[in-house]
């Protein structure tokens, strides 16, 4: 019976809704900081591959890679967020997080990927006004505590779009200008 089928489906949706309270995050590190991104945005995580640099692009754009026939721009998240560089010898930028934001696929270089975490959406607090971990609050969609650590949820559409565009507008006259 169709009706009962739909009933089941809608019930399923309700359950899903209830579960939405639970959010899955991919945790990753840049330096000491722990970040998180909604797992649904993450397309995949790859090891670092040869990157073709794009001349005269902003410094945080590492270049482009070939991901199964697609050309994907790669952004160094550390440079992008202006986080402190690591000391020599430490394992910097070993992974590329392929994230789809606003239907654009971009790779972000991170130091390491930790694990998939489940958090309650209710646990997420709005970004504090003050600077967290040397990070401007506009890149942060929220913070939450996990095992005593502060996890920063990055707002990737901010990271990718606004500032970047601004910088890229100026890029036309050249970064040397």
């Amino acid at each position: 019976m169709q009706t009962s089928y739909f009933d089941i489906e809608s019930r399923g949706r309700e359950q899903e809704k209830a579960q939405v309270q639970l959010m899955q995050l991919v945790g990753f590190r840049i330096g000491k900081e722990l970040f998180g991104v909604d797992i649904l945005m993450v397309q995949e995580i790859i090891r670092k591959v040869p990157i073709t640099s794009v001349p005269n692009a902003p410094d945080f754009i590492e270049g482009v890679i070939n991901l199964r026939g697609g050309i994907i721009p790669i952004i160094d998240l550390r440079k992008r967020l202006r986080l402190p560089t690591l000391d020599q010898g430490q394992n910097a930028g070993t992974r590329i997080l392929i994230v789809t934001v606003d239907s654009r696929t971009t790779g972000f270089i991170v130091d390491s990927v930790t694990k998939v975490m489940k958090i309650q959406t209710s646990d997420i607090e709005p970004p504090p006004e003050i600077v967290v971990a040397g990070l401007k609050s506009k890149y942060i969609s929220g913070v939450c505590k996990i095992d005593g650590n502060l996890l920063i949820l990055l707002d990737f559409s901010q990271v990718l779009l606004i500032r970047e565009k601004e910088q890229l507008k100026g890029f036309e006259s050249g970064p040397d200008a």
């Binding site: 073709t52 794009v54 001349p55 270049g63 026939g69 050309i71 721009p73 565009k165 036309e172 006259s173």
Partner: protein, 996 residues
């Protein structure tokens, strides 16, 4: 609610049809008599109308419908497409296009169409009224001497009735006088003459000559029977035409139908109330007048809905009322009984339609009134007989949703047509039979006292309602005669006219012996005649159907989502890339094998290695072949003839020519050249620009041309052809050309050039100044020959496609703009170069040549590195420094220079090494990396690495800007100078350089 997916299908389809419509319209304008073109236009309109109606798009449907009506008139030679009319067609096309666009944008039609409808109606009205039977326009009131066609009609009447001065006189009278029925008959005859075949005419003449002269009375035509005969024959042919019209009709808008029914209902009540008030003739006149108006109003709405039988019914009604009015005026006493008949008929029929139920009780009354009526009618007048003719074909033609209504009125109008004589076994049409039968019953027929007809009456009596309500499942016994018309009806079309017209004639003319003539007519009036009829109609309809499929064959196509093709294309691109990597694999293998050969290896092992290399080579070749074919095939899917593009321009040129008052002859060549659809879309606007320039500024007015000794009509030629992997589109005019000196002077004035630079430039280079951004948009350009407005945009757009634009002009002789574009956007031939550690791709289209120059030959002029070549000075751009890469060049004394053409000048790009030429698949970069970056995209090399594709034009501009800012910081240089260093040179004659 309109189904969105249907709409999605409809929109491109309609657009295609509109394009075709326009193309053919232009052809029609050039050659108004071209039947095929006309048919084509008609077909486009008809298709649009059909789909629009199906989708419930009232405006498009209504507009298309009116156009169709007008076209139909043109097809029948009742109107000629003069300039004004063509203009209206164009306007309608544009309106339709904007309606379609609105649909696309927000799913509804918002543009008003009434103005166009009125215009079209005016044309149709002009054409239609005179020759057509009373069903159109204000026939009754309007048919007079003042009608445009009246004199022509009379002339035709002369011909038609030349053997019968008496009749002719009457006819004249009737045309002029307000004697509607007569006029009706006369006009009808003329109408038929108009379209009828020679044969029909002859027949008619014969018959007319034989008309008994007892036709006196105060009414035009002679004895009822004779006049009826004439009309009969006439009517039949007119009907055939009507029918042709009808066969194109399709369902009507539900809404319209509803309005129509409501209107009918209202007026019906009014009518019945008033009619009952009519008792005596005296007071009746005024009332009658108002009734005439009401009926005329109904008639209007019926004619708008294209219910011809119904219209005819009203016509006869009005006619009769007029007649009665006349007679009353003449002091006679008249009974108004007929009014009641009409009203009750109308009511009965209407209720039938409304309920759409076929219940026997309802059929009964219907038939009864029908039967009763003739009696009353015939007393009244014979002339009223004319309309009934109509319904014969009408009935046949009734298909479509709402034709039931029409059909109802058909069957009912039939009796109104007391054809006394009509024992015509040949018309073998249900209606005829009915008519005959009824007539017989009414005891009117002075002619053939036939038993059969009356018999058939009873047999067929229930038929009309039956037919109306379920035409498909007629019971066999009563029906073979009915089936015939039904089958024939849909097919009946224009060509059928001639066939139909003569048919009734022979049988009717010799009233005395219809049977003698037709052997098989004797028995079942309908039966045997049937097959015969079907046969005669068959060829006619076949004729009609031949035309369209022939045209359609060409257009067979699949509509595929372009995204699907893009995906396929992408995959093919990948395949091409992996083919390249196989090529690399083979190279590596060969190197390895050579290495092995130099070692002391077992010769057998060596042989194995050699074999392996060979097999890899074979496999790579095979893969390459397949990949090539596949790539070509997929590319071809995207390829469309450039005609698609070129066909848009005749209209543009026409409008421009009209706007400027110039005479322009547009020549199109090579329209079959195929091009990627994307490319076609991309160059459409640039081409418009160039064409506009050519007509606006390039071509002179007729007077100027004459003065210059040229043909007054300017020629503009669009030409397209292949040149290796490119398509060349040329726009050539034979206008006044561009004054190179003037351009140079202006460039100097604007400070775009120094005089030395100008001196050094060749004419062609000077001409390319018109494509410079600063140059084109200002008004000063108009003071030169005007060319070049917006040319920089053109150039930019073309260059985006990896194409080039060249302007060539001879003062006084004309201008040629040459656009060279790659066949497709997706795959290009490219030159791979190494700069630092990276490999860059330069589209081969912009590469003029490659040079190998000594480092010491490079000098610096005004801060710009240049080399002196035989043709001039070439400015250089070091990519290593621009890209901030460390040179990977092995030989620091020599550098490779890739000379790229950026349209107005050439620049040498200094690279570390040249890798080779390859076919690459262009992949887009993220917008923020592509905009203003000097790169137009990226490609994946055989080894899987990404290589950026240089956008030479943008890159050079960017670098120039950067150099400027850089230099501005340490020294002050005039910006303009740096923007156009003018150290351009031309590389058409080869110099020393090594070519790779």
């Amino acid at each position: 609610m309109t189904d969105l997916s249907l709409l999605e299908d409809f929109i491109p389809e309609a657009q295609e049809h509109l394009e075709e419509f326009e193309t053919n319209l232009l052809r029609l304008e050039a050659n108004p008599g071209d039947r095929a073109v006309l048919d084509n236009i008609f077909r486009c309109t008809h298709t649009i109308k059909g789909s629009a109606e199906y989708l419930g798009l009232p405006k498009i449907a209504a507009l298309a419908h009116r156009l169709e009506n007008l076209l139909e008139l043109i097809r029948h030679g009742e109107a000629t497409p003069d300039k004004k009319m063509v203009d209206v067609f164009f306007a309608s096309r544009d309106r339709l296009a904007s309606l379609v666009n609105e649909l696309q944008a927000h799913q509804n039609e918002s543009s008003p169409i009434q103005d166009l409808l009125d215009k079209i109606d005016r044309f149709s009205g002009l054409a239609k009224n005179p020759p057509k039977e009373p069903d159109s326009g204000d026939d009754f009131l309007g048919i007079g001497d003042d009608l445009p066609g009246a004199s022509g009609l009379k002339q035709q009447a002369d011909e038609l009735f030349d053997g019968e001065p008496d009749v002719l006189g009457h006819l004249d009278e009737s045309v002029g006088a307000d004697d509607p029925p007569a006029a009706q008959g006369g006009v009808m005859g003329l109408g038929s003459f108009d379209m009828g075949t020679q044969k029909a005419n002859n027949d008619m003449k014969k018959k007319d000559l034989g008309l008994p002269d007892d036709s006196k009375k105060n009414l035009s035509f002679a004895s009822p029977d004779d006049s009826a005969q004439v009309k009969d024959s006439i009517g039949a042919s007119a009907i055939a035409r009507l029918d042709a019209d009808e066969s194109f009709e399709e369902e009507y808008d539900q809404e319209l139908y509803g309005i129509f029914v409501d209107h009918l209902k209202e007026n019906l009540e009014l009518l019945s109330a008033k009619a009952s008030g009519l008792s005596s003739s005296q007071e009746g006149v005024g009332l009658l007048e108002s009734l005439v108006e009401v009926v005329a109003g109904l008639r209007q709405s019926a004619s708008y809905m294209d219910y011809r039988a119904l219209t005819a019914f009203y016509d006869s009604w009005v006619g009769q009322m007029r007649e009665v009015q006349n007679r009353i005026k003449q002091g006679r006493k008249e009974s108004f009984a007929f009014m009641g008949d009409f009203v009750s008929q109308l009511m009965v029929r209407f209720s039938l339609v409304e309920e759409k139920v076929k219940e026997p009780p309802q059929k009964e009354p219907a038939v009864k009134t029908v039967e009763a009526k003739p009696a009353a009618r015939v007393q009244d007048s014979a002339p009223a007989a004319a309309p009934p003719k109509n319904q014969q074909p009408d009935k046949e033609g009734s298909q479509g949703l709402f034709d039931e209504l029409d059909a109802v009125f058909d069957s009912h109008a039939a009796p109104a047509a007391e054809q006394p004589l009509d024992v015509d076994p040949f018309s073998d049409d249900m209606d005829e039979l009915l008519v005959t039968g009824k007539a017989a019953k009414a005891e009117l027929p002075p002619k053939t006292p036939e038993t059969k007809p009356s018999a058939s009456v009873s047999e067929f009596d229930p038929a009309p309602p039956d037919k109306i309500l379920e035409p498909a499942q007629k019971a066999p016994p009563a029906s073979f005669s009915q089936d015939a018309p039904k089958e024939a009806a849909p097919k009946e079309a224009v060509p059928e006219k001639p066939a139909a017209a003569p048919q009734p004639l022979p049988s009717q003319a010799p009233v005395e012996a219809p049977k003698a003539k037709e052997p098989d007519a004797t028995l079942p009036p309908a039966g045997p005649a049937l097959p015969q009829d079907a046969q005669t109609q068959e060829p006619a309809s076949a004729l009609q159907f031949d035309a369209s499929p022939a045209d359609r064959v060409v257009k067979q196509s699949l509509r595929v989502d372009s995204a699907k093709i893009d995906i396929l294309m992408n995959q093919v691109g990948e395949l091409v890339v992996s083919r390249a990597s196989y090529g690399q694999l083979f190279n590596d293998m060969r190197l390895f094998q050579q290495e092995l050969a130099s070692t002391d290896l077992d010769p057998r092992m060596l042989k194995t290695a050699r074999d392996l290399t060979f097999r890899i080579s074979e496999a790579t070749t095979a893969l390459g072949r397949v990949a090539n074919e596949l790539q070509e095939g997929v590319m071809k899917v995207r390829m469309l003839p450039i005609a698609q593009l070129f066909n848009r321009y005749p209209r543009l040129v026409r409008d421009l020519a009209q706007g400027t008052g110039k005479l322009v002859h547009l020549e199109i060549r090579g329209e079959e050249t195929e091009l990627d659809k994307m490319v076609i879309e991309e160059i459409a606007d640039p081409l418009i620009h160039i064409i506009r320039n050519a007509v606006d500024h390039g071509l002179e007015t007729a007077a100027q041309r004459k003065a210059a000794g040229k043909h007054p009509e300017g020629t503009l030629r669009l030409e397209s052809y292949h040149e290796s992997n490119h398509v060349v589109v040329e726009i050539i005019d034979d206008g006044k050309g561009i004054d190179v000196a003037k351009v140079g002077r202006l460039a100097l004035e604007k400070g775009l050039l120094t005089s030395e630079e100008l001196e050094r430039m060749r004419p062609k280079e000077v001409l390319s100044i018109i494509m410079m951004p600063g140059f084109s948009t200002s008004e000063q350009v108009t003071t030169t020959s005007g060319r070049g407005v917006g040319m920089d945009v053109v150039k930019k757009n073309i260059e985006k496609l990896n194409g080039t634009v060249e302007v060539d002009s001879k003062l006084g002789a004309g201008t040629r703009v040459r656009i060279k574009i790659p066949l497709t956007l997706a795959i290009i031939q490219a030159l791979l170069v190494r700069v630092g550690a990276s490999v860059y791709t330069i589209p081969l289209a912009v590469v003029e040549k490659t040079l190998r120059v000594m480092e010491k030959d490079i000098t610096t002029i005004e801060g710009v590195e240049v080399i002196q070549l035989r043709e001039g000075v070439l400015s250089l751009l070091r990519l290593t420094s621009e890209f901030k890469a460390r040179s990977s060049s092995q030989d620091p004394d020599r550098v490779y220079v890739v000379v790229v053409n950026t349209g107005m000048r050439q620049v040498g790009l200094v690279v570390d090494s040249l890798i080779g030429q390859e076919e690459v698949v262009i992949k887009p970069l993220v917008d923020y990396l592509q905009e203003q970056s000097g790169f137009s995209g990226a490609t994946i090399l055989g080894d899987g690495r990404v290589s950026l594709i240089l956008d030479a034009y943008e890159l050079v501009n960017l670098c120039m800007q950067r150099q400027t800012t850089r230099r501005d910081t340490d020294a002050t240089w005039e910006i303009q100078k740096d923007l156009l260093p003018g150290k351009s040179f031309n590389a058409s004659n080869g110099s020393k350089p090594t070519l790779h």
